[in-house]
């Protein structure tokens, strides 16, 4: 029973902050590969975000976003799209890479459009990390000749809302050598969380990079960074958590091959069934559950206890169901 209580708590809290995580794992690119638009894709989508790609087939070059599963943590080449630690966030396979001398845009889609973005993980690519650390024929080693130069590589994130670019921004140092004590100077070398809630509601996010190493031809530091596990709000922040009895009824319970969902609210409902590990085992959207009474077939479910979650008229409630 303690277990069930914990689950209920977890679900309840998830529902009250309904969020989607975009982790780019839906792209089956295997390990140590990438999608840079050369296959004709000019938009990558994951969860409730989408990312533009501009690929020039004649010049084999791209700007905007790519999806990478790179693992090469040593090759200092612009074609190496691996993060400096060689994985996505938390050891995952895929992540997104931004490359632009200007700015890149992350569109918020579906339920996330116009909502607050909770945040995301960001990281340096192998190429940027090493060039910041050691320099090359065109870019400087941060710290400069003496190690004392107050260099930095800064990611600035702004938002567009209703077509207007915000003045407020979130800044994140991908490398910071501005400390008086050079021992504190650092280059980000693992996935780091960037909280974006302070930006408030947004239609899209705009990313730009700045460095202290610039010339007449622009920034010398390679204009790369990586993003993973972008957490967007699902537009259900206004959903009210209510007692199940006021929202729906199910019977029979325990059930065998089916049960009846009786929607006490007028209008459509979305139903989700989770097993006791929290895994979603059944989902029917509001277009399927339209009437007052609907028969839900559970023949395929194993015997056991399940959590029924119903969302209707911006109210959400949960109840346990036992399958015999």
């Amino acid at each position: 029973m303690t277990k069930i209580f914990t689950l209920l708590l977890t679900l309840s809290s998830l529902l009250s902050f309904a969020q989607t995580t975009s982790d780019f794992e839906i792209y089956p690119i295997g390990v140590d590969s990438f999608l840079n638009g050369s296959d004709g894709t000019n938009l990558f989508s994951s969860g409730n975000i989408s990312l533009d790609n501009d690929y020039n087939s004649m010049w084999n070059s791209w700007t905007g976003w790519a999806i990478s599963s790179g693992t090469d943590i040593s090759t200092v080449e612009f074609s190496n799209l691996s993060t400096i630690n060689g994985t996505g966030y938390d050891g995952s396979n895929n992540y997104a890479v931004s490359f632009s001398s200007d700015q890149t845009i992350m569109h918020l889609d579906g339920d996330a459009a116009g909502e607050v973005v909770a945040g995301m993980y960001v990281n340096n690519l192998t190429v940027a990390y090493n060039i910041i650390k050691d320099g090359n024929q065109f870019s400087k080693k941060f710290g400069g000749l003496t190690g004392d130069d107050p260099d930095y590589f800064l990611l600035t994130i702004k938002k567009y809302l209703d077509g207007t670019l915000s003045s407020e921004s979130v800044e994140f140092y991908l490398a910071d050598y501005q400390f008086a004590d050079n021992a504190q100077d650092y280059i980000v070398d693992e996935w780091a969380w960037v909280d974006l809630t302070s930006l408030g509601q947004a239609d899209s996010l705009a990313f730009s990079l700045a460095s202290t190493d610039n010339g007449n031809y622009g920034m010398n530091t390679p204009a790369f960074f990586a993003v993973d596990n972008v957490v967007t709000s699902d537009g259900v922040v206004s959903v009210e958590n209510v007692d199940a009895k006021s929202l729906f009824e199910i019977y029979p319970n325990p059930a065998n091959e089916f049960f009846i969902l009786k929607n006490l609210e007028n209008g459509n409902a979305e139903i989700s069934i989770f097993d006791m590990t929290g895994r979603l085992v059944y989902n029917a959207d509001a277009n399927t559950i339209t009437g007052n009474q609907n028969e839900i077939n559970i023949q395929n479910l194993a015997k056991g206890t399940y959590m029924i979650k119903v969302l209707s008229n911006e109210k959400v409630a949960s109840q346990l169901l036992i399958k015999q």
């Binding site: 070059s61 320099g135 400087k140 010398n220």
Partner: protein, 638 residues
């Protein structure tokens, strides 16, 4: 040592101060009777010239060092043993045309030439002519021309020159020159080997230990073969062959932890030149085949960039003269270039054809020359370029020269064909140049003086820059900019010689200052340009001075150069002053000559950079010895 030639003055004013290289003093220098002569006469402008004997007495090893130390020309040197390009009168590296026996050495891929790859001993004469000269020499002759000319020493039956130099930072040079022939045939073989570690230590900041340069090793081998054959009274045939191998590591910048990059240059150049000399006309046919590879490797990133080109040039020219007063010269040139480059989709073939006509008139105290050239590149006409120049001698002590010319530089193959921004529709950079010189030579006792002042103005339109293109992921080449260059070049020379004998006390002093304002006339965001802003790597002020003292068997010379503040890619470059000293002692041995010399470079141990992030060495030394064994018409008997 340098001999300044003012055309009207002739060479009599400044008799050459020579440390006496037997080979060139005693050998019968061929009087050049060439259809090209009119092209080489710089009417309306000035020319500086160095002969073998001058070059032998200089601390410089290559043309980059020669130009930097002797002419006040701004040489953009990436460090000892590294790339060196020139900026003459505020032009870009591609605005200096470098000729080898009249044919351009410029890489058609890059449009420039690394002057550190041109050893001084490869030819017998080097000239520098500032100002535009496209009407005669074509593309690239905008800022000036460096001309390398081979010259025979007929009658030098047998000669052998061996020169060995060792220097700081593991530098070692070995030169061997073997001459052989008789009155109608003369051959000379020149070999040059150079290696260096260039692992000098450079200044970081006060209280910081110096840092040692790494990955800066260079080695270079050259072999040149010249054969001159006087077939009969009228016909001459000349062959030149030059093979070069250069391998060098590319050192890290001073803000780079390490570099594993290296570059290989390979070049083979073959040239044939036939002349038919008659009383009132000269005909000349020339052909040259140049093949060069430039391969770049970075073992750290795995980057490999390979490129090569082959150019076949043919030229036919003729000159007609009337009692030396009027001369008419015409030339037809054609060249075909093929190139391979990782950056090109296909290997381009470039065809260039040109027709050029010059008229020269000389009478009493004035000279006049006008030229016009029309070039056709892959079926497209470049702007027709005329020039007109004159020399006028008002008095023996006051001369006036002037020249107006239109000049151009064609886009490089990279500008045209690079996959990712190359633009086949680029036009040549072109524009007008004007210059005038007032000079005043005079003599007091045994002392010769000369003051001169040159002023120039030049506007170049369709200046090619790579810039971001709207809607394109890569930068692209555009005819986007305009550059206005103007300046003043005052010069002063003093020469004193006690007696006419070779070993008498002689003092020579040259001082010069260049004020060059070279400004962008089109504002751009990227690459960042502002209207009226000095273009990068052109110092507003430059000055040089040098003094040479020779007495008996000894020689002592000092050069001092000042380079004013300039703008670079990343910010301002500080002004600097560098001084070099050379001491030399010559001894005759069995009527043949040996010379020992000692050079101190960067005498004042100045911490400076020419190119941002590229450190330069502090004080360093060279010591060397040269033996000349000559058997010249049995005068020198060993």
């Amino acid at each position: 040592m340098k001999k300044i030639f003012f055309l009207l003055l002739g060479s009599s004013l400044f008799s050459l101060l020579s440390f006496g290289q037997l080979d060139t003093i005693l050998a019968l220098q061929e009087v050049e009777i060439s259809a090209e002569k009119i092209r080489k006469q710089p009417v309306g402008t000035q020319i500086e010239k160095w002969k073998t004997s001058d070059l032998a007495a200089l601390p410089a090893q290559n043309i980059g060092e020669l130009m930097s130390a002797e002419t006040g020309t701004f040489i953009k040197s990436y460090g000892s043993g590294s790339l060196a390009t020139s900026s003459i009168r505020g032009g870009s590296a591609g605005h200096t045309l470098v000729l080898w026996n009249g044919f351009s050495l410029q890489s058609p891929i890059l449009g420039l030439l690394d002057l550190s790859l041109l050893p001084l001993n490869s030819v017998e004469e080097i000239t520098l002519q500032k100002g535009g000269n496209s009407a005669i020499w074509g593309s690239g002759a905008i800022g000036g021309i460096i001309s390398m000319n081979s010259q025979p020493s007929f009658g030098m039956y047998r000669s052998l020159d061996v020169k060995s130099t060792i220097g700081s930072f593991g530098n070692y040079n070995q030169e061997v020159k073997i001459g052989y022939g008789e009155l109608r045939v003369y051959g000379v073989t020149k070999m040059f080997y150079q290696q260096g570690k260039n692992n000098f230590k450079y200044f970081i900041a006060p209280n910081f230990p110096k840092r040692q340069q790494t990955n800066a090793e260079v080695s270079q081998q050259n072999i040149l073969q010249d054969i001159y054959w006087k077939i009969d009274k009228k016909n001459n045939l000349v062959f030149h062959f030059w093979q070069q191998f250069s391998d060098r590591n590319i050192p890290p910048t001073n803000v780079q932890t390490r570099s594993l990059a290296r570059q290989k240059d390979r070049s083979s150049r073959l040239m044939m030149d036939w002349k038919n000399v008659n009383e009132t006309y000269v005909l000349q046919g020339k052909a040259g085949f140049f093949k060069e590879h430039l391969d770049y490797y970075d073992d750290e990133t795995g980057l490999i960039s390979l490129s090569d080109f082959s150019t076949l040039t043919t030229e036919f020219n003729g000159q007609k003269f009337w009692k030396d007063k009027h001369k008419l010269h015409g030339a037809i040139t054609h060249s075909i270039t093929t190139a391979n480059n990782d950056g090109y989709l296909e290997s381009p073939i470039e065809n260039r054809s040109a027709i050029q006509v010059s008229y020269f008139f000389q009478h009493n105290n004035y000279k006049f020359q006008t030229s016009v050239r029309q070039e056709l590149i892959d079926g497209k006409l470049v702007p027709i370029v005329p020039s007109i120049g004159f020399d006028y001698s008002l008095f023996s002590w006051l001369k006036f020269q002037g020249k107006v010319s239109r000049n151009y530089r064609v886009p490089t193959l990279n500008d045209r064909f690079w996959n990712g921004g190359g633009n086949e529709n680029l036009k040549p950079e072109s524009g007008w140049s004007e210059e005038a010189t007032l000079s005043s030579p005079f003599k007091i006792g045994k002392s010769n003086f000369e003051f001169s002042l040159t002023g120039f103005n030049r506007n170049i339109d369709n200046w090619i820059l790579w810039a971001p293109a709207p809607g394109q992921p890569s930068w692209s080449a555009f005819n986007i900019s305009e550059v206005w260059s103007r300046g003043l070049e005052p010069r002063f020379s003093f020469f004193y010689k006690n007696k006419k004998e070779e070993k008498s006390l002689a003092i020579k002093v040259d001082v010069g200052y260049d004020f060059i304002k070279s400004t962008n006339e089109v504002a751009m965001e990227l690459p960042r340009r502002e209207v009226g802003e000095q273009i990068i790597y052109v110092p507003l002020h430059q000055a040089f001075g040098r003094a040479t003292l020779s007495w008996k068997n000894m020689g002592l010379s000092y050069q001092h150069g000042f380079t004013g503040q300039a703008r670079g890619q990343y910010g301002k470059l500080d002004a600097y002053q560098v001084g070099n000293v050379r001491m030399q002692y010559s001894a005759d041995w069995k009527k043949c000559k040996s010379t020992v010399f000692f050079n101190i470079n960067n005498l004042w141990n100045v911490n400076y950079i020419v190119v941002e992030r590229r450190p330069m060495p502090g004080t360093h030394f060279q010591i060397g010895i040269k033996f000349s064994f000559n058997n010249y018409l049995n005068i020198c008997e060993t």
